[in-house]
């Protein structure tokens, strides 16, 4: 992985279940905030200038990367935001806006997309059976737990 430049804060670090990581960083050079995406292969991609746009841009990228990993079938993806990034947010943006901080947003990473009913009705018997059996097991356990609670 490319060594982060000075004045660079790590915003997010994504790690899959095989230990491959990529990170999202903020570069505060020249009184500008610049988001940097260090990819899995170690290459660096810079984007968006400006304080607010860079912070939220980095956040969006973190979310997109997370979704992409999930779509690719990775089951465990950790998202970590450094405390320094939180400090930067609080200092430069936190008091101005009412939006949640990037670290809070990162915790609420979106769940993998569920197929719609229409899509389910088009699935093959084998595919639908596997999903239905798994979903039914979970639903049954929830029902039993609910009954035990109310008993």
């Amino acid at each position: 992985m490319t060594t982060p430049k000075s004045n660079v804060l790590e915003v997010a670090k994504l790690q899959d279940d095989k230990g491959i990581t990529c990170s999202l960083q903020i570069d505060r050079g020249n009184n500008e905030v610049r988001a940097i995406h260090v990819k899995k292969d170690g290459s660096v991609r810079k984007f968006k200038k400006g304080k607010r746009t860079a912070l939220f841009g980095a956040m969006e990228l973190a979310k997109k990367t997370y979704n992409k990993m999930i779509d690719q079938g990775w089951t465990s993806v950790e998202v970590n935001f450094s405390g320094a990034a939180q400090d930067l947010y609080d200092k430069e943006l936190g008091t101005k806006g009412k939006k949640k901080s990037p670290s809070q947003k990162a915790v609420e990473a979106p769940k993998p997309k569920e197929p719609t009913l229409r899509e389910l009705l088009k699935q093959t018997p084998a595919g639908l059976a596997t999903k239905a059996k798994n979903d039914l097991m979970v639903a049954n356990q929830e029902l039993m737990a609910l009954r035990q609670k109310s008993a």
């Binding site: 569920e114 197929p115 719609t116 009913l117 229409r118 389910l120 009705l121 699935q123 018997p125 084998a126 639908l128 059976a129 596997t130 999903k131 239905a132 059996k133 979903d135 039914l136 097991m137 979970v138 639903a139 049954n140 356990q141 929830e142 029902l143």
Partner: protein, 283 residues
């Protein structure tokens, strides 16, 4: 509150939580509004009666329902003289009761009734219909405003199923059929609607399970149309299977008690094969 007002209130059906409107309900609603005589024809368990009940519930209408069969007599419908406290008194049957009080009346499974019983309905089903109580010195009963009549049948006779699915049904004659001003052939609901119904009626049921049950039902229905099986798959069966699946946590065990154990051996093999293919469960 008078006894009759109390009775009327009790006769208003309850709204079903999560009820999903069937595709034919717009026609039914329009026909009821215009005082048409409505005949709903379709397979058992497809939701004919419940659709009328739900419209009555929404409109706050008292609803009477009578199931007709081969043993239903004219007296059951129109009324009879009975001995009470040493006197003979006339007791109205369900038909004049509904007419006099402006209730909605469902005549369920009219294809099972004897022709002479159906003949009593002829004048009631006409425009400006009325009922003659022959046994009560020819008293004429005219319907109060609000009276509506809906018939349900599995077949109209002319297209009666020749597979014996509805044994005991009779062929309705042309004069009787002619009197129904709206006849709706009720079909299976579209897959997406049927799956939605399952999810609403069985809270907690995953969409994937609802989809699977509906797909199985439609495959069995297709086999029925092709005459590979002599049984069909009603939405009622789907609901029973869905409910048990959620409770058991197992599609196969639930299918046995709600579907397969009701079938003759030959049908059981075919339907069991379809269920096995879709669920992957050995049955």
């Amino acid at each position: 509150m008078t006894e009759m007002a109390k009775l009327c209130k009790e006769l208003i059906p309850a709204l079903i939580d999560g009820y999903v409107d069937m595709p034919w309900m717009k026609i039914l609603d329009d026909a009821l509004e215009h005082n048409d005589r409505i005949l709903l024809v379709g397979h058992c368990g497809v939701g004919k009666t419940s659709s009328v009940e739900q419209l009555a519930a929404r409109e706050n209408r008292a609803l009477r329902r009578v199931n007709l069969n081969g043993q239903t007599t004219i007296s059951d419908l129109v009324g009879q003289w009975i001995a009470k406290d040493g006197e003979t008194v006339w007791v109205d049957g369900i038909l004049p009761q509904a007419m006099k009080n402006g209730h909605w009346l469902i005549l369920d499974e009219i294809d099972f009734a004897q022709p002479e019983v159906l003949a009593v309905l002829h004048p009631v089903l006409e425009d400006c219909g009325y009922l003659v109580l022959q046994e009560k010195d020819g008293e004429i009963v005219r319907p109060e405003r609000g009276f509506r009549v809906v018939g349900t049948a599995n077949s109209i006779g002319a297209d009666a199923d020749d597979r014996g699915l509805y044994q005991g049904t009779g062929v309705m004659n042309e004069a009787f059929l002619d009197r129904w001003s709206t006849v709706v052939k009720v079909k299976w609901p579209p897959q997406e609607i049927e799956a939605t119904i399952l999810m609403k009626r069985v809270p907690g049921l995953p969409a994937s399970v609802a989809a699977l049950i509906v797909r199985v039902a439609n495959e069995v229905r297709a086999s029925f149309d092709k005459r590979d099986v002599f049984t069909t798959f009603s939405p009622r069966k789907c609901l029973q299977w869905a409910d048990k699946s959620l409770r058991y946590g197992n599609l196969g065990d639930a299918a046995k008690v709600t579907i397969l154990n009701k079938l003759a051996d030959e049908d059981r093999k075919v339907v069991g094969g379809i269920i096995q293919r879709w669920t992957g469960e050995s049955l």
